[in-house]
Amino acid sequence: MTAVSGMAEPLVLRADRPFWRRNVTLTVVLYVVLVLGSLVFVYPFLWMIATSLRSLAGVGSSGASVVPREFLWDNYVRAVTSFPFWRYALNSVLTTLIPIAGTVFSCSLAGFAFARLRVRFAGVLFAVVLATMLLPGEVTMVPQFMLFNNFGMVDTLYPLILPAFFGSPFYIFLFRQFFARMPSELADAAVVDGCGWFKMFLLVYLPLARPAVVAVSILLFMGYWNNFLGPAIYINSDRWKTLPLALAGFQSVNGTDTPLLMATSVLITVPCLLIFFVAQKQITNGITFSGGK
C-alpha cells in the first residue's frame, strides 16, 4: 500500500488492482512460504507412494528421495493377494455404506422433527441431544460391549452397523440447522395439500436437503472408513476384519516389509482421495456447516 491517505482511495485500489500486483515483495515472500509449506505437507504423501513402488532393497538405499527409480507394481498385486484383501474391503464397505444410510435416515428424521415440529418438550429433548454431543464415546464403550455381548453379536459386523440407525447427536444437530433455514411456507403448502408429516418430510423436505445429505454422507464416509477403535473392540476373527484393522495386524506381523505396508496404506486411502476429488465442493459445503456456526 503506497502513500494513500485519501478516504475512498484504498477501496478503489482494492477493486481494480489486487494487492499482489501492488506489493511485489510481499507477494514473493508469500509464494516462498506457500511453496515451502506445501512441499513439507505433500512430501510424506509422495514418499508413501514412491516407497510403495520400490523393492525391499531399494527402500533401504533411497532415503528421503521421492524419485521413482523403479516401478514395482507387484507390491500392489501382493497387497491384494497375500492376505484376503477383498474380504476385508467388503467388510469395510459394509461397515461404511450401511451406517451412512442409517445415520442419514435417523438423523434427518430427528433433525426435521426438531426444526419443524415445535411441540412441547421438543426444546428440552434438543438440549439433551446437544449435551450428549459432549459425551465421549469411551464412557459407554465398555457397557456397550457388554450389551452386544448379551445379544451374541461380538465378532460380527453388527455392533459396527446397528448403532448408526439410532442417530448421532452431531448430525441431528446439523440436519436441524439445515431444515430450520428452509422456508416454513413449504410445510404450510404441504399441509393444505393434505400431506401427512412423514410424506411431507420424505417428498418435500428431504429432496431439498440434498446438499446436506451429500455433505453429511461424505463426512461420515471418512469417519466410518477409517474407524479403528470399533473393529479393534468387536472383531477377533479374520473373517470380519476391516481394512484398517487388517493393516494394523499386518504392521505388527510384517512390520519390515515396508513397500507392502505402504502399498496397502495407499489402497486404503484411495477411496477417500477419489471422493475428495469428485466432491470437493460438497466437502467444503459440509465443512462450512459443521464448523460451529
Partner: protein, 346 residues
C-alpha cells in the same frame, strides 16, 4: 450371551435363517416389540386426540434417536456405574467390590502415566494445531493466483488418517531408513530415535498430528470467507492497517469458530487411541494413551470393572478440561447476536 437370546438364535437357526443373519434376529425381535408398542400408543393417541397429529409425528420421528439414546447411552452409562463397582471378567458373575477399582486406579502408576501422556498430548498438540491451522488458513485466504492448488495440497494429508497415517509415519520416523533422519542427516544433524526413544515418542506423535491440520484449516477458511467485507472497509476507512484489521476484525469474528474447534480438538485429543495401539504403548509406556490403557484393561485383560472405573475418570477429566476452556475463553470470544447483526445491516 443372554440365555433368552441363545434360545431365540437356536430357534432362528432351526427355521433356516442364514448363519450371517442369526445374530441379528434377537435384536430385530426386540425392536419389533418396541415399535409394536409405540405404534399401539400412537394409534390410540390418534383416536383420542385427533388434533395432536403434530405431537405424535414428533415423537415418532425422534423415536429412533430416543430408543438409541436409552439403549446405547443411558442404559450403558447406568450399568457402567454399577460395573465400575464390581470385579468382573465377563465369564464369572460380577463381584461387588465397592470403590476398590477407583482406589486401585489412584495407586496404579500406569494410570498416572496414561493421564500424564494423554494430558501432555492434549495440552501441547491442541494449541499448536489450532495456531497452525489458523495461520495456514490466513495464508491460504489471500487472493493470489493458484491458491486453489495450494489449498488442495495442504488439505490432502488429512485424507490419510488413522492406521494408514500411523503406519506411514512409523516409516517416516524410522531412525535408520526413514525420511526424517535422512533429511536431517543431509544438513548435518544426527536425528533422534523418534518412536523408538521413550523421551521422543510423544513429541513425534504431536509432530505427526500437525500433518493433518488441513481438516481444521478448511473450517477456518470457510469462516474467514464469511467475515463481512464491510467490516474491513469500515476499519480501513478508520485508518486501520492490515495488522489492526486482523486484531480488531478478523480475530473477534473468528473467535467462536476457534473456540468450537479448540473444544472439539481437546475432546478428540483426549480420546487418542490408534497411535498408542499401533505403537504398543511406545517404549517405556511413553505412548500409553488413556483410552489405549482402558482398551487394554477391558478387551485384552477382561477387567470390565476396572475399565469402567477408568472410563469414568476419563469422563471427569474431559468434563473438567472442557469447563476450563469454556471459562477461560469467555472473555475472549465475541458472539454475534441477532441484534448486532441487524444493527450492522442498517
Amino acid at each position: 450371551m443372554n440365555p433368552l437370546v441363545g434360545r431365540l438364535r437356536n430357534l432362528a437357526a432351526s427355521w433356516g435363517v442364514p448363519d450371517v443373519l442369526v445374530p441379528l434376529v434377537p435384536f430385530l425381535l426386540l425392536l419389533i416389540v418396541v415399535y409394536a408398542v409405540i405404534a399401539l400408543v400412537a394409534y390410540t393417541a390418534r383416536r383420542r386426540w385427533p388434533r395432536a397429529d403434530k405431537t405424535i409425528a414428533f415423537w415418532l420421528f425422534v423415536s429412533p434417536w430416543l430408543i438409541g439414546f436409552c439403549l446405547f447411552t443411558v442404559g450403558p452409562m447406568a450399568s457402567s456405574v454399577y460395573v465400575s463397582l464390581t470385579s468382573w471378567d465377563l465369564i464369572t458373575a460380577p463381584k461387588f467390590v465397592g470403590l476398590a477399582n477407583y482406589a486401585e486406579a489412584f495407586r496404579d502408576p500406569q494410570v498416572a502415566q496414561a493421564l500424564k501422556v494423554t494430558l501432555l498430548y492434549a495440552v501441547i498438540s491442541v494449541p499448536l494445531q489450532t495456531a497452525l491451522a489458523f495461520l495456514v488458513a490466513l495464508l491460504l485466504n489471500t487472493e493470489l493466483p493458484g491458491m486453489r492448488l495450494f489449498r488442495t495440497v495442504w488439505y490432502l494429508p488429512s485424507l490419510v488418517s488413522g492406521v494408514a497415517q500411523m503406519v506411514l509415519f512409523l516409516w517416516v520416523f524410522n531412525p535408520q531408513y526413514g525420511l526424517m533422519n535422512d533429511v536431517l542427516g543431509r544438513v548435518g544433524i544426527d536425528g533422534p530415535g523418534w518412536f523408538n526413544d521413550a523421551s521422543w515418542a510423544l513429541p513425534t506423535v504431536i509432530l505427526m498430528s500437525l500433518w493433518t491440520v488441513g481438516g481444521a484449516m478448511v473450517i477456518y477458511l470457510a469462516g474467514l470467507k464469511d467475515v463481512p467485507s464491510n467490516l474491513y472497509e469500515a476499519a480501513a476507512l478508520d485508518g486501520a492497517g492490515a495488522v489492526r484489521q486482523f486484531w480488531h476484525v478478523t480475530l473477534p469474528q473468528m473467535s467462536p469458530i476457534i473456540l468450537f474447534n479448540a473444544l472439539t480438538g481437546i475432546i478428540g485429543s483426549l480420546q487418542i487411541f490408534t497411535q498408542g495401539f499401533i505403537a504398543n504403548g511406545g517404549p517405556k509406556d511413553s505412548l500409553l494413551f488413556f483410552v489405549y490403557y482402558l482398551y487394554d484393561n477391558a478387551f485384552q485383560n477382561f477387567r470390565m470393572g476396572y475399565a469402567s472405573a477408568l472410563a469414568w475418570i476419563l469422563f471427569v477429566v474431559i468434563l473438567a478440561l472442557t469447563a476450563v476452556t469454556l471459562r477461560g475463553s469467555a472473555f475472549a470470544v465475541y458472539y454475534e447476536t441477532e441484534l448486532s447483526r441487524k444493527r450492522r445491516r442498517r
